[in-house]
Symmetry: C2
Subunit: 209 residues, 2 copies
DNA sequence: TTGATAAACGTAGGGACCCTACGTATATAA
DNA sequence: TTATATACGTAGGGTCCCTACGTTTATCAA
């Protein structure tokens, strides 16, 4: 009847559970890299020698699985942000971090779609990760711009979205160069002070405040 | 035995064929707008009162259907580019056109994914439209930058990709503001002359030429 | 060791969707 | 009115998503 020695007595997690979980993540990593973010979950399960039901038990949604696959990598990015802020000038820290982000996209090629999950994609409904990268990029941009006194205020996370957008190729092998140039373009836009959107008087119907 | 009065005697296209084709496009337009680019093709077919086989006859791939749905709108964009170049200063023309592109994204909300088809997305393999928007945006950027003497050379189409990347929300209703700010940020980056990527000496392992 | 039990597992199957094979209907032009 | 190119629909195999249900097993206490 009574069986609780301590208030928070939780059993040790079962070994088979953790083993299968790890196998699923490994299989998913490979599948996502090879077939894109829409890879078959049943295929992933059988590749991991695990039933499809178990896959769903561990990862209730596809996004949960994607997040698990990339959690480690995003942790690395988050750590790098702290380190760069400590060791670099604000602008340089931001730039280097964005380049790391490009590297991240490069390492997981074909994954740029999946990135939508990490940086807050279309389906925010069932996306449990509303942007683990938002805090670091926000801080980096804030520090980089409070000195520069820039005028155009972008949502920091949108820089990542823009870069990820550029990375949306599978065929073109030069996307990485494009992405790096985009980083510099965005940085340049963030830095200077002399730009004005210069709305023309003749046809002001395009944008209204 | 002989039945060719003229060398290129082609029968007039059948009326039912064209009618069904139009109905499919209309149904697809609604479906894509409502359920996103991954909407069910069978659903689209039945919504148009057409068999699934006929849908495939008219549009062999999903991308072909997407392209048909947006062909008219992209034509409008292409025409607008010519007009803007005739009537505006180069920079202004580029800016206004990018804002039109934002409007286009706004009108077809949830469609930003489908845009990958139009601006050359991941699956270039079976994408018959390798960027109908590439020529106009390229010309606009060329004209805008040959005066400004900018240093950073982006692939013009990547501007569209960046903007479309920012637009990748369904939930957030403020994406349009973000996208407009992104337009100005990109333009500012394209215009000025004083920026240098300033690669730091201490740890140059991030980028290599 | 052994037994109790929470925690994990797999099989099976309904439903949605993709895509194609095959035979049929019909709009056009002679 | 007839011939025929052109379009059509039904049917079905295959893949995948997701859940219900009963079974197995790893942990912990006795």
């Amino acid at each position: 009847m009574h069986q609780e020695p301590h208030s928070t007595s939780t059993r040790r997690p079962r070994a088979d559970g953790e083993r299968n979980r790890a196998r699923l993540i490994a299989a998913a990593k490979a599948a996502f890299a090879e077939r894109g973010a829409a890879a078959s979950l049943e295929g992933i399960a059988s590749e991991a020698n695990v039933s499809i039901a178990s896959l769903y038990r561990h990862f209730p949604t596809r996004d949960a699985l994607i997040e698990a696959v990339y959690r480690q990598e995003t942790d690395t990015l988050i750590d790098a942000a702290a380190k760069l802020m400590a060791e670099r000038e604000p602008i340089t820290a931001l730039r280097e971090w964005l380049l790391l982000f490009v590297e991240f996209l490069d390492a997981k090629h074909g994954m740029s779609e999946a990135l939508n999950t990490l940086i807050g994609g279309p389906n925010t409904l069932y996306s449990g990760t509303p942007g683990r990268l938002a805090p670091p990029i926000t801080t980096l941009v804030d520090r980089a711009t409070e000195t520069g006194g820039n005028r155009i205020e972008v949502e920091p996370i949108d820089l990542l979205r823009a870069i990820a957008g550029v990375a949306n190729h599978t065929a073109n092998t030069e996307w990485k160069q494009s992405a790096i140039r985009m980083v510099d373009l965005l940085l340049k836009g963030l830095q200077d002070k002399e730009y004005r959107p210069e709305t023309p008087e003749t046809s002001g119907d395009t944008v209204k405040p």
